[in-house]
Symmetry: C2
Subunit: 219 residues, 2 copies
Amino acid sequence: MIGLIRVLTTTNEEVLEQHGSMITSLYGVPVISKCIPDQPLGIFNEETEELAIPKIVALGQALEAEGCKLLIISCAADPAIKQLRANVSIPVIGAGSAASHMALSIGKKVGVMGITEDVPIAMKQLLGDLLVTSIRPEGVTNTTDLMTPAGRDKAIEAARSLMEQGTEVIVFACTGFSTISLADVLRKELNVLVIDAVEAQGLFASTFYKQLNSGQTVG
Amino acid sequence: MIGLIRVLTTTNEEVLEQHGSMITSLYGVPVISKCIPDQPLGIFNEETEELAIPKIVALGQALEAEGCKLLIISCAADPAIKQLRANVSIPVIGAGSAASHMALSIGKKVGVMGITEDVPIAMKQLLGDLLVTSIRPEGVTNTTDLMTPAGRDKAIEAARSLMEQGTEVIVFACTGFSTISLADVLRKELNVLVIDAVEAQGLFASTFYKQLNSGQTVG
């Protein structure tokens, strides 16, 4: 089993399972999703990130104790990744670093699309000179804003702007984009390479999980 | 079509196709393999690498002109990767950087196994502090040495030594290990995570190729 950590608090099973279901459906691996307590709004600034760190570590340790063979911190900011890696023996994958390593493997110029003004530090550091520009779709501060036809148009407009600034591959810095399948919309509308953070973490996680689970092939 | 560049000269079709066939069989994508001219011994020092660079660039440009949508430089030293990326418009993946990015995605301590004394510079730079140790199986200077029962035992012994020195994931710095399926041997014998350079480049290449070819899902 892969243990997936949602860094927000929810009692809605469907919301809880969104990323895990997508990974199971794309890569055929079992995922158990759990969320941290007492942060219904998730992580949205330094203070809430600090608050989440010990919760993410404790949840990861509990998932390892339950028998998970690999952990995913399903957030583009990779919160607590260093701390969790230091406190469990199994591999830990973060959405932000997974998406960044996908981009680095082809060396194409990166434009980051997110719902905050800044690119998460973890991604900025990894991408280095490959990061040419970043954008937040106009008027979009949360993913529900993107679920309307107007929001979808704003996202396409933002992607076009990234491409005009030299972007060769769009990397999402928000896992919320995955649940609305924005990557496929942009790929079809603009014929551009898109790295979706949930797809990327799932690709790495499933590859290593299959190896851990069977001792068979795959990267 | 994915264009795969072998950085040695061979007229043996089976040798030429080794890496491409493996990628097609693992990931279901079409690969055309071509080799550089006049270097039957491949790249084995700085001089032969310098000699190969313009040949790799010319071959990559020819493959792009033939309609390839993505290129692979199938060598752990990533020879000419920078130069080729600067001279074609399609994505270029190298075996060494692909294997390194796979390792970086889980943040586990890396031990590199190769057939030379040193870790290729491209891999060393990417892995940074994660690289804890490296080894060449005793008495092994080319991959045919590994194809005997004694060679296989030396490889297992080398892997064991890497693990005793703190290695959590073994990364191959030689694509020749792929053609003898050494990764599966080590996974089964030692229950250790192994990143095979041909599997890794194939994973990235197939993921992006599927996107370039259809505008559909995948990382």
